[in-house]
């Protein structure tokens, strides 16, 4: 495997392109016209510009991607996450084109990617699943009325999920029957728009539960191992925002049982490569299979930080037919990841757009930043609003939280509203501090929505800074600097006089 095409964009494309560079593998990036100035194409050896304007015409366009691989002589395709990463038909098309698919077999993706099939497969493999019902009707009116009937049997509160969904899209929590019809129609519409598949299933909403997931790796020599758990309970609209490893309340006994269930799940579909088995952990210690993500996950860095395993590098190794390089895995210290979004947390978390006039991430010990943007880029409404993942590692959970607070305080993003202040508040949240977070922590803590705590002196100081900036003309690009006019002359102008 000498040349890999990365069929993705943004942060995850950067992550994979860098891993390939480190492994001495040539790379091809694919790039839509509106991404031409982005960071990820610059990290590739070759770039193929995609034709078309919409995501469907570009990053989701299978024939264009396969043609890009053919024309550049790439031997393998890494799908990243999102886009085509969990599309069995694309994985099959890649294999049919004689290329290596860096991921599990189309059969495994199909079995796990379709949530209804996954539930059945897991039930058969003896892995516990959440009580719920599966509706497989394509016709809109029939599906909606069947969903309504099933809802009565499953009971409230309940959760509507898109069968081929992910990332919280096509997902709705419904607490009482009166809100069901609108939620069901909305979930279907969002599912069709995002995945081209309107099938939905209903399951009981287990309140007070933790979201725990197990990272697994399987290679062709028959080894399937798990790399321990991540806790991702802190979610907003089913979108994870704060992830950590190890789970703060995890016991060795539950870890072992869950790890075994995850490995059993992977083996049930002859899994190959890296994958994640998600569970809901009830307060009584019972756990239920949620879904398996047959791809690299957004939050994989926290596992990398505590296990020392480079998961993307292992994916490349396994796809090339080599055995995985990690042996018995031990967790060391504690890692936390937060997702930096271009959104306004004080205004219902509405996505925001604008220039990244200043983008100055924190640095120093134990800090890792995975991003696809840099200062000067524009945040547009074309793609997902995630700007970066900030990951910290420290010897203990307490120190990791302290480090995260420090890092977020240093993180300067000007020109576009972000959720930095919300993430910073989260680090002081009682449940986060004690490790007793559940999937409803954010809604329980801020039922009326989040808003920043007022600080009069800092607000005045900010007004002073802005007024001073305006008075002194700090915003004018032609500014020669307030001191250069009357201060010492620049060494460069001196040099140019001496050596014309």
């Amino acid at each position: 495997m000498e040349k890999v095409l990365v069929a993705n964009r943004g942060e995850i494309a950067c992550r994979v392109l860098r891993a390939c560079r480190e492994a001495g593998i040539q790379t091809v990036a694919i790039c839509a016209a509106n991404d031409a100035g982005s960071m990820f194409p610059e990290l590739a050896d070759e770039v193929v510009m995609l034709q078309g304007d919409t995501i469907a015409e570009t990053y989701l366009n299978q024939s264009q991607l396969l043609e890009a691989a053919r024309s550049t002589g790439a031997q393998a395709i890494h799908p990243g996450f999102g886009f085509l990463s969990e599309r069995a038909d694309f994985a099959q098309a890649v294999l049919d084109a004689g290329l290596i698919w860096i991921g599990p077999s189309p059969h495994a993706i199909e079995k796990m990617g379709d949530k209804m099939t996954a539930r059945k497969t897991m039930k058969a493999a003896g892995v516990p699943v959440i009580p719920g019902e599966e509706i497989e009707l394509e016709d809109e009116a029939a599906a909606l009325s069947a969903l309504e009937e099933a809802a009565q049997r499953v009971g409230y509160p309940l959760l509507l999920k898109a069968s081929s969904g992910g990332g919280g899209k096509g997902m709705r929590a419904v607490t009482e029957p009166s809100g069901f019809a609108e939620a069901a129609a909305g979930a279907r519409r969002e599912a069709i728009a995002a995945f081209g598949d309107g099938r939905i299933y209903i399951e009981r909403l287990l309140t007070g539960s933790k979201h725990i997931e197990i990272q697994i790796i399987a290679d062709r020599t028959g080894h399937t191992v798990h790399l321990g758990e991540r806790e991702c309970s802190v979610q907003r609209r089913h979108q994870k925002v704060f992830e950590e490893a190890p789970g703060p309340t995890m016991t060795p006994a539950i870890r072992e049982a869950m790890g075994e269930a995850a490995v059993a799940a992977a083996k049930a579909v002859d899994y190959e490569g890296a994958g994640t088995v998600e569970f809901l952990l009830a307060p009584n210690g019972e756990f239920f299979f949620l879904e398996m993500n047959t791809r690299i996950q957004v939050e994989h860095p926290v596992t990398e930080m505590v296990t020392g395993v480079d998961i993307v590098r292992e994916q490349l190794r396994i796809a090339a037919g080599e055995p995985m390089s990690c042996g018995t895995v031990q967790m060391r210290g504690h890692a936390i990841e937060v997702r930096l979004y271009a959104e306004d947390p004080a205004n219902g978390f509405l996505p925001s757009i604008g220039p990244l006039a200043v983008f100055c991430p924190p640095e120093g010990p134990g800090i890792r930043l995975d991003t696809g943007v840099r200062e000067g880029d524009d945040v547009t409404p074309n793609y997902d609003p995630m700007l970066a993942k900030l990951i910290v590692w420290a010897p203990s959970r307490v120190e990791a939280l302290e480090r995260m607070r420090r890092a977020l305080d240093e993180f300067v993003v000007l020109g576009t509203t972000t959720n930095v202040a919300f993430l910073r508040d989260l680090c002081d949240n009682e449940d986060v501090v004690s490790g007793s977070t559940t999937t409803t922590t954010i809604d329980d803590t801020w039922p009326q929505g989040w808003s920043p705590v007022e600080h009069e002196a800092l607000t005045q100081a900010a007004l002073l800074s802005a007024a001073a900036g305006e008075t002194l003309g700090l915003h004018r690009p032609s500014r020669s600097g307030p001191s250069s006019a009357d201060g010492p002359s620049s060494p460069f102008s001196t040099l140019s006089r001496r050596f014309p």
Partner: protein
């Protein structure tokens, strides 16, 4: 040296005073170093460095982990009044219009569904009232700031 900024919908006048080679306001003072960085001394004696950048009319200021967006209002003007028009928070596509002109709505009632950044956003009535006009229909593309519909307060 007086500047007017819009802060959370309210106009604030900031009158600067020259003091010890810097500028001051409400007991806080600032100097600018050779590289254009803002060095602040707050009224309580603490000090910090601020990052500031102007984008359009908005000054973005970061200090001590907080970010402020302060829109500068031209002298004599006051901050723009959108009235009761409901404005598109970002560019996107109208998926659904749930009300028509003449409808009465209750506070919190969804009136439009907007798709942007692959997510659905509901435009809800901030208060009870009567819909005066609906400017877009489902399928329409809207720009950020476009007035989507107009709502009149019920008295």
């Amino acid at each position: 040296m007086q500047h007017r900024f819009s802060l959370k919908g309210e106009d604030v006048d900031v009158a600067l005073v020259r003091k010890n080679g810097g500028l001051s306001y409400q007991g806080h003072s600032v100097t600018v170093d050779a590289r254009g960085r803002l060095k602040l001394t707050l009224a309580d004696g603490s000090s910090c460095t601020a990052h500031a950048a102007k984008v359009g009319d908005v000054w973005w200021v970061h200090m001590q982990g907080r970010t402020f967006a302060l829109e500068r209002i031209e002298p004599g003007a006051s901050s723009q009044d959108h009235g009761d028009g409901l404005v598109a928070p970002m560019p996107g596509k109208i998926l659904e219009t749930l009300v028509k002109a003449g409808d009465t709505v209750e506070a919190g009632q969804p009136m439009m569904v907007l798709e942007a950044m692959k997510m659905e956003h509901r435009i809800v009535a901030a208060h009870a009232g009567t819909v005066v006009a609906v400017h877009f229909q489902s399928g329409d593309q809207v720009n950020q700031g476009a007035v989507l519909l107009e709502l009149e307060d019920t008295n």
